[in-house]
Amino acid sequence: MTTPPAQGGYTCPYCRMASDGGGGTCPHCGAPVDVRLKVSDSGWIEQPPIRDMAHIRFGHSTCQVSGMYVPVAEMALHDQDWVYFSHHVLLHTDPNIRLGNLPLKGGWKRMRAGMPLIMMTAQGPGHIAFSADEPGETIAVPLAPGRAVDVAEHRFLVATGNVNYGWQNSNVWFTTQDGDDEEWHYPVGRTIDQFAATGGNGLLLLHAPGNTFVRDLQPRQRILVQPGGLIWKDTSVRMFLHFEYPHGQYWFSSARYQAKSTWLTLEGPGRIAVQSVYEKPEGSGHVRRTSGATTHQW
């Protein structure tokens, strides 16, 4: 059980932030403090859903998460606090919330990657709420000053103003041959978002379809995950592709080109989070070039 100790502080096993453990939920990430820590035999920790109407504190403001299928993150913004988000996740706002924009560099590349070209900002005081467009869980990732995480494309919901936002090419790709054409594939997306807290504790809210699982990888420890299943990882975690070709009894029943498995190798040290719903990897055909990948033929 993760019940807080009788004396001293409580460290949330999901966000690793310290609090007094009172109130039934972690004030930093909203995870319940009175539930059993569920760890699979292989070491995956099941992230419990944020309880309906639970509060998360940040700056002088609060965030209340409501609903269970497609949760809504409703923020009561203090006039000294602001948040930024992609415009399509805004659900409702008080008329007095001041909306602005946060221009981003690399507009052409972002447009090609299907990423929003600007972020909107909202400055308190007032209430504003956000939700995603698919069933799943809202995940709160509190960031201590200096901590940074990489987040897969389209998982971002909203972040506090003191969290720096950046993005870079994911550098995880491969090409296949289709006739005379070479097709490019980006199993974790063309780009990856990066968030880093500066100045004080920051809060990052993500939305992931299905259920969420986290685990800590030791230095050089590796695990293979579905590329579309990655939600976020510590920046210290390295990632690259791995192709597997299952072996059949006869040459024609062996998977060579069409039925290969495309994996994302994650190598520690650091924490990773995956979601149980993911898109089927694309890219049948002979792999010609990669961004750097390992291969195994069974």
Binding site: Q64, S66, V70, P71, H87, H88, V89, L91, G107
Partner: protein
Amino acid sequence: MDRIECQWCKAQNEMGRTNCTTCGAPLDKKDLVTDSGWAEAPRLRDMTEFRFSSSTCQIEGEIVPVAEIALAQGDSVFFEHHVMLWKEPQVPMSALNTGGGMKRMLGGMPHILSVAHGPGRVAFSRDATGEVVVLPLHPSMELDVREHAFLAGTHSLDYSFVRIKGLANVLHGGSGMYMDRFVTHNEPGLLLLHGYGNVFQKTLQHGEKIMVEPGGFLYKDSSVNMNAVKQNVKTGLMGGHSMYLAEMTGPGRVGIQSMYVHHGSE
């Protein structure tokens, strides 16, 4: 005799009941209301049953709930034909001509609504994760509903559709050209909606405003004024796209759904 008032539909229930007989909302659980005043639609317990006229409705399942209706003789419900999940063979069917054929075709709405008559059972569900919202309508009420969101309505409801006024509202409001309008006269009626994701309701005071993502709008009292308002935030290169929000002005109820396709990025 002591009564319990349902916090969702305000119907009076006998002491000791755990679900409202009129809308099925749990009576033994407190309403969940966010700090800013949005009340979560009650999460109906699996197999919850409630009554309308001489018939009953049972809600089954939780992820994509099914509304199973046991129609009594003389009762009927109307619906869009594609939401009917199953029916008993002997349940008589008829059609309700909505009028305005060309307008409805332009609005992408069905010309004809199906009607199932009692006695017998018929069941309805929509096509995505969400909640069945049960809205008992007292006499002399008018409710406007986003098109394609209603699951079924009882025979005592008058159905019509209203054009969304203003070109900006049609083009940028995210709710299409028309809204379904349900009106009660002397009898109460029951309306079942399907909201995608989770559903929340807020009651606006006279003149009170709230800005809502147009795709999230689900229903409103007809007394609530809805207006698409352009936001001074450009979201595209060279100002190619702008953002609109639906400004809702009270008095009356507004219902929203948490899962939607943002109309600007469809």
